[in-house]
Amino acid sequence: MNTNRRLVHRLAERLGAPVPATQFGDDATFGPMPETAVPDRWVATTCGYCSVGCGMLVGVRGDDAVAVRGDPDHPVNRGHLCPKGLSVHLTLRAEGRLRSPLMREGVTGRQVPATWDAALGLVARRFTNLIAEYGPDSVGIISTGQLVTEEFYALGKLARLGLGVEHYDGNTTLCMASAVSGYKATFGSDGPPGCYEDFEVADVIVLWGANVADNHPLLMPRILGNRAATVVVVDPRVTKTAMIADEHLAVRPRGDVALLNGVLRVIIEDDLVDDDYVRDHAEGFAELRAQVLAIPLDEAAAESGIAVNEIRALARLIGHSSAVVLAWTMGVNHSAQGTRTVELLNTLAAVTGNIGKPGASPFSITGQCNAMGTRETGFTASMPGYRAYDDPAARTELAALWGVDESRIPTARGRAYPDIIDAVITEEIRGLWIIGTNPVVSYPNRERLEDAFDRLDILVVQDGFETPTTACAHVVLPAAIWGEKDGTFTNSERRVSRVRKVVEPIAGAKSDFDIFLGLAEHLGVRDELFPGWSTPGDAFDEWRRVSSGRLCDYSGITYERIDAAAGVQWPCPDDGLVPLGGTPRLYTDASFASGRARLAVVDAEPMSEPTRPEYPFILNTGRTVEHWHTRTKTGRIGVLDALAPEAWVDMNPADAHELGLRTGDAERVSSRRGVVDRLSVSVTETIRSGELFVPFHFDERCANRLTNNEFDPISREPNYKQCAVQVERSGLGRIG
């Protein structure tokens, strides 16, 4: 297509024809647009990348998505989008879409096209046989945070009740599991208490391990817009977010617990505790007090890298303010001590009374567009509706709601994601179904994961695009992607928004919803699990009933209400008492599932892999604004790829000087687990000497060849942020 157009242009040029310039047409809403991109209609939907949940309008011309604009009336993003959102319509017809089921041929080992019937039949048969032969713990499922809620709800039932597998988890364990575990530990339930408006009305905004500018860009207008607030960023790097903050505390890697204990000590010493709140709504204060007073401040300062006077200043800033939002993301979660750090953040919010009021919340800004949806409806860390596996009443309730025997309801969570991979290595798990995620690039210690995949009897991968993971599969199921299917997403502030089919699924692909129903058909459980279901709306109706009375109560939410309010925040019981837009904040009456907020006592644990002479640098990994996760989509969009085409390594000038490196040199970075070659060095004062940063998006120079398969013992979230590495002069010249 492109080549042809170019040829035509060349010919026209030689013949002296005028150069075709972009011609502009007129759109009634948005004014002049390129003529070929003036849509016939605009479809309102929600962005499918991150969890901010921006409302957008996708312009459709004929059968194609040709344009996208931020929805000017949407309460989340108020008409604006980040660069990924502004080009998201281009993902729909990007190169590399899967257009037919693939099955690995026995003789050649090649993946060859197959019919849906053959592929789903094989998957059903192989999984059923494995379970019959080796038991329900011989098959695992790893899904994602990118499907619609209706699909997650269907998948949960299919996995645990239909297939009857024990081990089902999502890639959400790689990003916000620690927030979930932390919320459960403190408040007895998952569920972020705050909302985005808190950023606008807080006196103090603390962004702890949260590089919002790169990762949740559309929250920045609210943070910048609150000129009255003091913005504090706690981050080992001078991130884009730190650059616009009033205060930046360059905490040492894994210094968070020490810093939090120091802050808590000063708050208690200086009598800045909200005594009423603690007396009425918290427990464990005496233990907390004893713990933090036992840690001298200079010890906290030494461990955290933050000077005593700065610790005092932060504590006093928080203690003297009436509304503090403590927001965090992966800097906290991606840690072997992630859950405990979240508990301490919750504890800090509780002892200062910063819960359940405007501008005051311990707020996990979650990762994927619908990580929240799978947390609410999935059958992973909890049963649907945040029900606990070990709660007999909850199991009875679910069995009754579904009309199944109570013995079918699981009594325990299966293995979490990393434990599924470990069980594949020990060959306890022989069949694995991966849905909408790309572990080959995203899982820590890539070589070990690839070894695990080699051991599987059957690997089924369901995705919209060819990825390094689909390349490993025995069976590939081509899925429709965002923009090709209907449903709902829940964003970080518990806002349930509509996601709409903008164009038909690419020929050969099916929506994940239809794939789940199709597999249920092959397993003979469709009528039992999904009676009369044909559209995601059917799943939503059932989910409303199932969630009724739970914290994440959807019973008052309908698709029509979502449209009328531009998103509804749960809890939203069907009692007519909740405002149209739902409930902005949880715990306004401090009614926690745990009764009282459980204050945490936490000892700082050192890194498991500190530097040593062979590996003298601590490697930190993270993101850049142009890309999403493993670049399955964004790497295929020309404008985004051109903005950040390759991975790099940030290095302090002192280290660069010592190694004799200059910006642009292509060097080798290695850890005990693997090697990444030709990483372009970026010499910058945004990182501390002795530390390095590599973005993790890139398959070609994959940061997860270096990272450590070490996990939080509670949440099972990987410790992506610290491992020991070496930089070698590869003599391979320079990039660029």
């Binding site: 004014g31 920045m220 207008p221 817009g225 390759e646 910006t663 910058t684």
Partner: protein, 502 residues
């Protein structure tokens, strides 16, 4: 005054896109950029690309990064820049086809139908704003979203900026001419070069040691092979014409062969130059801007020279008595041509070229190669004496001068503390190492050969001069290639992740 205000209360600013205020006499529209609220999200770049359907390699708006201070007190700023719609647009002034127009509302507008894709504006702009669009064979640039402006809407980038870091506002032209200090800062080229109108709102407490994040990243520019051919061949031709005329004057030879060689070289140069253009069939349009553009003048003068060289060749055969006159006439036009050709490289946006040494280099190429071509047609009796010695001496002196000019330019670059100078020098030293050896080798060897040739006569002289010509030709070719690839243009600060490109 401000149309899309940099408001103190961003959260309240989420209504429809602000409409533009009408211009009063003496005003124009311009961009304003507030570095203190830009979070580096790059939405402006993507919105621009979408609105104008730009391919990935073409960007009209770019976000760079500048950094200063030291960890943890590092200060880093993003800087989003598009066209600055200058009061004295270097692109417009240099454009040979008058494809650029400064509209009454201030937009520096580019008309693709008039553009021949010569890319001279891309050399002239101190901000490297105009960019060649390969698929369309023309240069393109930001037009401040003229179609949107005409409807009272702001540009796509302004509309897309979540933190309102970019705006469009009116500016009093006379006042800005008198004081454009707010156009400077954050590693930008000085606004005075072209009277850039973009107003930069600086964050407080900007450190003094601010440098672009891509400061150390410099990459080789396009070698422009057709221009290597154009410049070398025209210089060889003009030198040959003059040397021939000299020989003809001295009565040494009356041969038309050397004049013919000169004409052919000139004609080949013109043909080669077409290869440089995006739209060669429109090449004639390059003559439109004789009033201002050195490129237009170069085309006109080399065209005239080639005609005169043809005449010289004919006269040399038909009316040998008039040959010297025809030769010096053609040579004179050619000298002006080389001057115009050299002058077009003297642009502030490309500091490595912006020196009289460029003119020296171009002229000495002519006076080194031309006499050696003429030597080839001298009768044996003239070798080793008379005009033969004169030609050899001129060639020898020119080659020595060429090496001195190179060294002088290196010293000049070394004495300037700018990224562009440092970068050019670094490319000359590191990236073109083999070419450097070839250049120096092929520069020194012919000098030695010619020194020997001066002490010989007859066939030995001819052989030595011939060998010297081959080496000198190689040396000059490699040198010209290095001239093009090692220039570091002025630009807005780049960005590491994009391999240093902004």
């Amino acid at each position: 005054m401000t149309v899309a205000p940099i408001t103190d209360d961003l959260s309240k600013h989420h209504g429809p896109t602000p409409t533009l205020l009408p211009l009063e006499p003496g005003e124009q529209y311009r961009f304003v950029f507030d570095a203190s609220v830009c979070v580096g999200c790059h939405s402006c770049e993507v919105a621009c690309a979408e609105q104008n359907q730009l391919p990935p390699e073409v960007r009209w708006r770019r976000v760079g990064e500048v950094e200063g201070g030291s960890f943890p007190n590092t200060r880093r700023f993003n800087i989003s820049m598009a066209c600055n719609h200058c009061l004295e647009p270097a692109c417009l002034i240099g454009c040979p086809t008058e494809a650029y127009v400064k509209l009454s509302n201030g937009i520096v507008d580019h008309h693709a139908e008039d553009c021949i894709g010569c890319g001279y504006c891309t050399w002239n702009c101190p901000y490297s704003v105009p960019v060649f669009w390969p698929e369309r064979n023309v240069v393109t640039k930001c037009d401040l979203c003229k179609p949107r402006l005409e409807q009272g809407l702001t540009s796509a980038c302004v509309d897309a900026c979540p933190t309102h870091a970019i705006g469009i506002e009116k500016v009093d032209i006379a006042a800005w001419r008198a004081d454009h200090s707010q156009g400077d800062g954050l590693g930008l080229p000085p606004a005075s070069l072209s009277l850039s109108t973009t107003r930069i709102v600086m964050p407080p407490n900007v450190p003094g040691d601010l440098a672009g994040a891509s400061h150390e990243q410099v990459e080789l520019e396009d070698p422009h092979w057709p221009l290597v051919a154009l410049t070398l061949l025209t210089q060889l031709a003009v030198g040959t014409t003059l040397a021939t005329a000299l020989a003809q004057t001295a009565g040494g030879i009356a041969s038309g062969n050397a004049a013919l060689v000169a004409f052919l070289a000139g004609a080949m140069a013109l043909v080669a130059s077409l290869g440089h253009l995006g739209r060669p069939s429109h090449a004639w349009k390059a003559l439109r801007n004789l009033r201002r553009s050195w490129l237009s003048r170069e085309v006109a003068l080399f065209g005239a020279y080639t005609g005169a060289a043809a005449l010289h060749a004919v006269v040399s055969l038909a009316v040998p008595g008039l040959a010297p006159w025809a030769g010096f006439g053609a040579g004179l036009v050619g000298v002006f041509g080389i001057y115009a050709s050299g002058r077009l490289y003297l642009v502030p946006a490309r500091p490595a070229w912006d020196t009289p040494l460029t003119l020296v280099q171009f002229f000495v190429t002519a006076t080194a190669l031309g006499p050696l071509v003429a030597m080839g047609v001298l009768p044996d009796r003239e070798l080793g004496q008379g005009i033969g010695v004169v030609l050899l001496t001129v060639a020898l002196g020119s080659l020595v001068l060429a090496l001195l000019a190179l060294a002088a330019n290196a010293l000049r670059l070394a004495s300037q503390p700018t990224r562009e100078s440092w970068g050019s020098l670094s490319l000359l030293r590191h990236h073109c190492r083999w070419e450097r050896r070839a250049r120096v080798g092929a520069g020194v060897i012919p000098v030695m050969l010619l020194a020997c040739a001066l002490t010989t006569s007859g066939d030995a002289t001819r052989a030595l001069a011939g060998a010297a010509f081959v080496f000198a030709g190689v040396g000059e070719s490699v040198g010209r290639y290095r001239f093009y690839v090692t220039v570091v243009p002025r630009s807005v600060p780049g960005r590491f992740a994009s391999n240093g490109r902004a």
